[in-house]
Amino acid sequence: MRKEWMKVVQKLWRTENIVELTLEGELVEEVERPGQFLHVATGEKHVLRRPISIASYDKNNCQLTIIFRVEGKGTKWLSLLSKGDLVDVMGPLGNGFDISRVPLHAEVLVIGGGIGVPPLYGVASEFKKRNLVTKHILGFSSKQDAFLLNEFQKLGETFLTTVDGSLGQKGFVTDVTLPTPDYVFSCGPSVMLRAVKEKYSNSVTYLSLEDRMGCGIGICYACVCSSNHAAHDKKVCVDGPVFLANEVVLT
């Protein structure tokens, strides 16, 4: 883990309110897995950093991308950065999706909802490098909120859902029914994760959780969640953000 001023080398509006930034810096060397995240400072008025997942990374060029939706003041601030600007970043943080234990012949289903989609692109890309073809279900509110579609389609069969039916199947990601996969990798709003956990209880299911964070490194106890063993005994920032679905209690 490092703290570094990373340089914005590219900025792209993916939708009306979703920005992709490509950042350059030495901490990319330390990235181990898709699903790890950065903790990003957003100006002097904000005492807390913002956790944003690493969507993809390129160790050769010391570059990575983050994709975020403009939600409140911090992401608004980030969205005003331009090429060449420096941004104060800590990372990589968290465990990420461990795909190394997945056998090469396994059936892998990737399920992403909304702004949970970006880290899964890293997952699918890493599988691709290992010649494992993933299937994807991506859910969005509506057509104009959808992004990364082409990118996922290139990596494997991709099913789309939108709440309003403006693109793909109308409904939620769990309304798409496919043969039970061996592994599920998922990230998205907690209501979606709960539904995914239930629907894919017979698969090995990895979920990336979200929680309000303070430090991002395990010292503040802001981001706790409960395992099956004890209440509040896991920290999303260091024990997660990725957990096996049947290990954690989803609230």
Partner: protein
């Protein structure tokens, strides 16, 4: 050579900088970032008799130049704190101050008596001001008589000097500080957080599951400076100051108003190396004011007026 050392009851500090309770856990994570022996001292997370699971999440929210927290004293209980956390900290050359919390006088006394016997524990910080749990001590911190009674009991039970952490959520802090001084406390730490609330934009409801939380960060610094000024001019025991420290200028400000040492809380979340960096910057900051030691800077706001008035 600038002399950074500060001598306080029970504490021989290499320098006046230390992490504040709850913003450093028990040092395991930050110990991986730099050598904790560099610190003046460490103040641990609140420790209670039994393990506590704390409040529901969300536990933090942000505000302008500040944040709210309602962790709710989550900690593994005194037994595990002693067997694991304090043991690990013993491998560093740094005095430990254990932040002790409880919901009854008996619990405070029990925890203080246990931890104060551990050899690397050089002082206790009595947390009578946690605003985030119903039974978390703030009741002890807002009434002078109750605070004094508790202080007396803990001082009697503790093998090391007791510092009492004051709550800023009071109409008059001086009577409380004086009562605690008279009850035998060796020092004061101040301030704990101010009670606040933030609302979710979409729902209009409180963000924190606990509804309210403690406000910390630069936003509260002017309030902390004012409270320390009041207490400094009306008591004689040392003060460890905290509240919004981010820069070495903030450290100088707290020393100037009369604090003997300075703790850093919230700033750890943006920069976990903050204490180490402040320690590096302090000699130059003191030198630029013409001082050759921390001691010379302490209380400069008062022109020694407060010393004379006592």
């Amino acid at each position: 050579m600038i002399n950074l050392a500060v001598q306080l009851p029970g504490l021989s500090l290499k320098n006046p900088i230390m992490p504040a309770s709850g913003c450093f856990s028990f040092g395991r994570e930050i110990g991986e970032l730099y050598d904790l022996s560099k610190l003046g001292a460490v103040i641990t997370k609140a420790t209670t008799q039994h393990p506590r699971i704390g409040n529901a999440t969300p536990r933090v929210a942000e505000s302008s130049s500040g944040m709210l927290n309602a962790i709710g004293l989550q900690n593994p209980g005194v037994e595990q704190v002693v067997s694991e956390e304090l043991k690990r900290l013993a491998s560093y050359d740094v005095p430990v101050i254990v932040n002790v919390a409880g919901s009854s006088l008996e619990e405070y006394v029990e925890v203080a008596s246990v931890v104060s016997k551990i050899s690397n524990v050089h002082a206790i910080e009595l947390n009578i001001s946690c605003p985030n749990v119903k039974d978390g001590g703030i009741i002890f911190g807002t009434d002078a008589l109750v605070a004094a009674e508790l202080t007396k009991a803990v001082v009697a039970a503790s093998s090391v000097p007791v510092y009492v952490k004051l709550s800023p959520n009071v109409t008059s802090i001086v009577p409380i500080a004086k009562a605690i001084e008279e009850a035998g406390a060796s020092g004061l730490t101040m301030i704990n957080t101010l009670l606040g609330m933030e609302l979710d934009r979409k729902t209009g409801k409180p963000i924190l599951a606990n509804r309210t939380g403690g406000l910390s960060g630069p936003a509260i610094k002017p309030i902390a400076i004012r409270l320390i000024d009041e207490v400094r001019r009306n008591t004689s025991i040392p003060i460890i100051a905290m509240g919004g420290v981010e820069t070495v200028q903030d450290v100088i400000d707290y020393l100037s108003i009369g604090a003997n040492a300075v703790a850093v809380g919230t700033a750890h979340f943006k920069n976990p190396w903050i204490c180490s960096e402040l320690i590096d910057q302090l000699p130059e900051a003191l030198a630029s004011l013409g001082y050759s030691s921390v001691e010379q800077c302490i209380g400069r706001s008062h022109d020694h007026e407060y010393l004379l008035s006592r």
